[in-house]
Amino acid sequence: MIELQNLRKEYPEVVAVNDLQVTIPPGEVYGLIGPNGAGKTTTIRMACGLLTPTSGSAKICGVDVHHEPERAQSNIGYLSDFFSVYDDLKVWEYLDYFAHAYKMPEQRIKPRIEEVIQQVGLEVKHDAFIKGLSRGMKQRLGIARAVIHKPKVLLLDEPASGLDPKSRVDLRNLLLSLRDEGSTVLISSHILSELEGFCTSIGVMEKGRMICSGRIEQIVADETKFRVIRVTWIGEVNAGGIFGAIPGVTDVVAQGKEAIFRFSGGDDALAEIPGAVAAQGVKLLSFGEVKQTVEEIYLKLSKNEVM
């Protein structure tokens, strides 16, 4: 659905994007993460045809964005971080303009406008002038604009920048519903919590290079040599002695009636631990793996550039 092949962009004396190679299959939500200046925006601008790459190609639904821009753009919905809207238009006029600009069939335009207005929760503002909308509402209108032509691919460049927490939640829910409808989404952000639980795949960019890319579970599996386990119990227990003696367990940190340790064995060995400690008289209250966040993975992968 999105194919970036050896994508490269050179600016005076710097390479902003360095031979990027990414393929994002249909229905995937791909989070492009990295510090400011990593090349995320440049990548997205090249992917939607705004910027001509120095070399390489960007294909959307099999169409080269730079050779057949208008054909490719019928499949692209684009939203950038900070943007304005035409304040002197009404909400429906704004969407009508873009529906026509995307050359949608005339008979489909009106129902589609009503549909997306409802989707972004701006029904009551249908006939209102845009200048009267709040920042969050304008952002939602921006999303409505980006999806008005039912694009198969959404390219979102830091879409939550400058939004208040409630608007961020609204935006997140909106994007989740678009994901459920089958859109392929490429979303960039340097705020990792924005992407947590939303993306199915991630790519970590630094200094114009993709240092890691793939499905989150796969990356977690590849990048974690051990699992982090948290246990709680009742009664008095010598946690360091009991858990530390189990093969594969390291770095036991006990505090009160709770301990966290690293385990580097397989699933079977992990499943045997509760039985083994119970045999030593420990009354376990809970035993579970602490899932690592995208943020933790990113910090592991990155060289801790300033974020």
């Binding site: 004396e13 710097v14 200046g37 925006t41 705004l50 019928s74 692209i76 943007f83 050359k103 200094k207």
Partner: protein
């Protein structure tokens, strides 16, 4: 009409601008201004005891004065509206969204061209209607009035296109920019064009619209006579020529816009190399067409004067060709890599601009031969083909040097390198002129040495192979070699694999 009403960009402007209260206010204001003009005119006529019978003269024509106001207001308003159109959108970051839609450059151009100045057309249109009615009352010929309106519309479309191009290229065009265009290009160009009716290229006067409009009023015979330009020896009404001239120039500006409307600002290149050469051919064909050697009306007209004018136009053309074919840094680097691998040549699209300036020079030389053939005076003056070739080559050398300097500026970290480069070149010429003025004694013997060496004015000293100019020619050759070396040096540096700011 359907072309406009089905154009989303035009419809957007229509919806944003033409709200009923705004239309009422603007229309009312326009009508009020016309009414005040009519009152003032009526008062003036009464005071002079004028009795209406038959056509009226310029002084007493309300139509004339309303048309004068319209002729100034409409193009300026269009220019101003279009000057802000794209730059504002780029600042608001809405232009990116427009560029990612399926509208092609031509559709976008139509939308902006007629949409951005919509309020100007509406408001001034009301004034034009009142002017038309007053013209009818004053027995002004209807075809004349329609031609005048046509000329105004064509000129306004041209200024709109020019405004859009500036808006596309310049980062932040402001009102000051508009004033600059009007004061430093508009009126002087108009005045020069008006003076051209007294030159070997009388057709150039059609650039000033006034000669075209004069025959429709009762003006003194001698002035009206000036407005009879010839194209390839055939007399063409000035108003028709103005329409054709501005119409054809508008097509060139439109082409530049279509080339670049959907591009990032840093990637803009006004014309392709071939289009730039096409433009050089167009200007030279115009010059040949406008050359009118048999018209022996004024004393200043001479073979040499014609050649000087011809050289001035071509000198501007060499610079223009060079500037519009400047290659953006990134593309030039790509070309250099390919060039080093022997996969691209000096004539490739993304190569350095100098071969195209040379080609423009060859076109100028061919045009010169045409003009010589038309005049039938070859050999009767100091001017020979060899000297013409030298003069053109001298101009080309300076143009190549300056354009390569601009290209080098584009390879540096300079912000707005072309604007700054042009400013530096101006400073250079200013310094040379001051230096020349300090050697005042030299004036008695012709062009002062520093000026002849460091500027291309030696090319205008008809028929003389000035030794200073020859030295200057060699010096510029050396400067070009140095610039080429510097450019190669810059291109050879590989960009570092570091991230730029997003």
């Amino acid at each position: 009409m359907n072309l406009l009403t089905s154009n989303p960009e035009f419809v957007r402007h229509w919806r944003a601008e033409m709200r009923a209260p705004r239309m009422l206010l603007s229309g009312g204001l326009s009508a009020l201004i016309c009414f005040l003009f009519a009152q003032a005119h009526s008062q003036s006529v009464t005071n002079r005891g004028y009795a209406s019978s038959g056509p009226v003269g310029v002084d007493d024509s309300l139509y004339f004065w309303l048309m004068c106001v319209i002729a100034v207001a409409l193009p300026l308003w269009c220019l101003s509206a279009c000057l802000q159109a794209i730059a504002n959108e780029r600042q608001m970051k809405t232009y990116d969204f427009v560029r990612t839609t399926r509208m092609n450059s031509l559709e976008l151009l139509f939308g902006y061209l007629f949409g951005a100045p919509l309020m100007a057309y509406y408001t001034i249109g009301i004034g034009a209607f009142i002017a038309f009615l007053s013209g009818l009352g004053e027995h002004v010929p209807i075809p004349g009035m329609l031609l005048a309106f046509l000329l105004l519309i064509v000129f306004s479309v041209f200024t709109s296109l020019l405004g859009l191009l500036i808006s596309l290229v310049v980062d932040k065009p402001r009102a000051a920019g508009l004033l600059f265009v009007v004061l430093f290009f508009g009126w002087p160009m108009g005045a020069l064009a008006f003076a051209a009716s007294d030159s070997p290229f009388p057709g150039v006067s059609a650039l000033a619209m006034i000669p075209g409009l004069l025959p429709f009023f009762h003006v003194p015979q001698t002035v009206a006579e000036l407005a009879a330009p010839h194209v390839f020896g055939v007399a063409v009404p000035a108003v028709i020529l103005s329409v054709l001239l501005y119409g054809s120039m508008a097509v060139w500006v439109a082409l530049a816009l279509v080339n670049n409307l959907k591009k990032e600002r840093e990637e803009i290149r006004i014309f392709t190399n071939r289009q730039a050469i096409g433009f050089a051919v167009y200007v030279n064909v115009l010059l040949i067409g406008f050359f009118h050697p048999l018209q022996n009306r004024v004393s200043t007209q001479s073979y040499e004067a014609a050649f000087v004018i011809f050289l001035i136009f071509n000198c501007m053309l060499f610079y223009f060709t060079g500037v519009v074919t400047l290659t953006p840094q990134e593309r030039l680097r790509s070309w250099y890599r390919e060039f080093c691998a022997k996969r691209q040549s000096y004539l490739s699209d993304n190569a350095l601009p100098w071969p195209w300036i040379l080609l423009a020079g060859a076109i100028a030389l061919v045009s010169f031969l045409f003009i010589v053939a038309m005049s039938g005076e070859y050999g009767q003056h100091d001017l020979t083909l060899g000297w013409a070739g030298f003069a053109i080559l001298l101009l080309i050398t300076f143009a190549v040097r300056d354009v390569l300097f601009l290209q080098w500026c584009m390879l540096t970290r300079m912000k707005n390198p072309v604007s700054k480069g042009i400013a530096l070149i101006w400073l250079y010429y200013l310094a040379v002129v001051i230096l020349g003025a300090l050697n005042r004694n030299d004036f008695r013997e012709g062009i002062p040495g520093p000026i002849a060496v460091l500027t291309p004015v030696g090319a205008f000293d008809i028929g003389k192979f000035h030794s200073y100019a020859l030295f200057g020619f060699a010096l510029q050759g050396a400067a070009i070699a140095i610039l080429l070396f510097w450019i190669r040096d810059r291109l050879a540096v590989q960009p570092k694999a570091m991230a730029a700011a997003a």
